[in-house]
């Protein structure tokens, strides 16, 4: 008799499906990494510092290769390595704060989990080369199918971010913290209308509820139809109201890991 736990593990570690969703994640994450880090690594800023210059060159080579999907696995591992050095060595150890931001850490970790996905099998130069090499042969590369169990890693990553963000905000004074943030950014020390406090209180309660809902609800496929739009609207609001930079778009992009790879495949086929 099979133990239910092992059956569950096997079911989640043996998923052969379309690789198009992994490819979209690959391309999207590279763009987000450029948006988050590239400005600090352009030649203009790094030329007089050999270490940083070398790091910048590697950053752009690996990310460029990963974006077009050339030697995808190699470039993915190289890029993940570079990003983790930037976040944990230069950022955390050497206290270079532009690299320790949460959006940056999230991108670095997501690109690390991407190493376990066959993201080069779709929308990539690798696929194009393989296709022209094995023309007229029934090569497996043509089918854009691969082991996509690592989408689960990205799903867990998203859930962990939501869960611990919710935990962090689950205290009685959170509405007052939100007042501080909004007053600092918009209203100043003298709140123009006292009723705003009640509205901010409602927003704070709603924020925590949405975060808990997204933590668990995204795993329920039937809920995607209404929960994902709520999540997207939530992130758009956060993006517009607070300086969260790439965080919102990264989370929205990572929602793709929750979608059925088959649905993503046919969506791109149709468009």
């Amino acid at each position: 008799m099979k133990l239910p736990f092992f059956a569950l593990v096997k079911r989640n570690l043996d998923i052969k499906a379309s690789t198009r969703s992994s490819a979209v994640l690959r391309i999207g994450l590279v763009f987000l990494a450029w948006s988050c880090f590239a400005d600090r690594l352009i030649v203009y800023r790094t030329f007089q510092n050999p270490d940083w210059f070398f790091l910048g060159i590697l950053f752009f080579i690996f990310s460029g290769m990963l974006c077009i999907g050339w030697r995808t696995k190699f470039s993915n591992i190289g890029f993940a390595f570079i990003l983790n050095i930037m976040v944990f060595y230069l950022g955390v150890r050497d206290k270079y704060y532009p690299f320790t931001t949460f959006p940056g850490t999230l991108i670095a970790l997501s690109i690390t989990w991407l190493c376990f996905l066959p993201s080069g099998k779709s929308f990539s130069l690798d696929k194009y080369i393989a296709k022209s090499k094995f023309k007229n042969q029934n090569n497996i590369f043509h089918r854009e199918i691969g082991q996509v169990w690592a989408l689960n890693l990205i799903k867990v990553q998203v859930a962990v971010v939501y869960f611990f963000a919710a935990i962090d905000k689950s205290y009685l004074g959170f509405n007052e913290r939100l007042e501080q943030i909004l007053q600092s950014a918009y209203f100043g020390s003298y709140l123009p209308w006292e009723g705003l406090r009640f509205i901010i209180f409602l927003i704070s309660v709603l924020t925590v509820l949405i975060l808990y809902l997204l933590t668990f609800g995204l795993f329920i496929k039937n809920w995607h139809r209404w929960l994902m739009p709520i999540g997207i609207i939530f992130h758009v609001f956060i993006y517009l109201l607070l300086p969260v930079t790439t965080f919102s778009l990264t989370m929205i992009l990572l929602y793709i890991s929750f979608l059925d790879p088959k649905d993503v495949h046919y969506f791109f086929k149709r468009i």
């Binding site: 955390v92 962990v160 009685l172 600092s184």
Partner: protein
Amino acid sequence: MLIGPVSRQFLGSTNKYLRPWRMYSGYGRNICDVKYYLTENNKDFVSLDPYEFMKSDDWMDTPKKIKNLRNPKQVMLKAKKMCKLIPEGQFLYVNAKCGQTRKGWKIIIDNRKPFCKRKKNDFKDTISK
């Protein structure tokens, strides 16, 4: 993925390499919330619109530097300035609280007793001196 937030947020670890998912917890803490009240008899309080004393039409108009009091020191200075601007014979009550990291407001000045009173003969005293 999990070790960082669990150890930092649940177990209280301070290892800086283990990253918590604690976003923007420090943002916006350097702001104070201030309210002014006027009274003549310590019974009937009138909420004061501070923008009337700033030569601004409203809060949208006022420069950020003026409307954002960042710390208790700035709050005290502003309140003392307000004391000189209020009508004669009135008491000024101040209710001020400032932001803190990962917590609600911290009360700096409460309105249990008047912050100051402008005497009726303030102006005459100044002339005679």
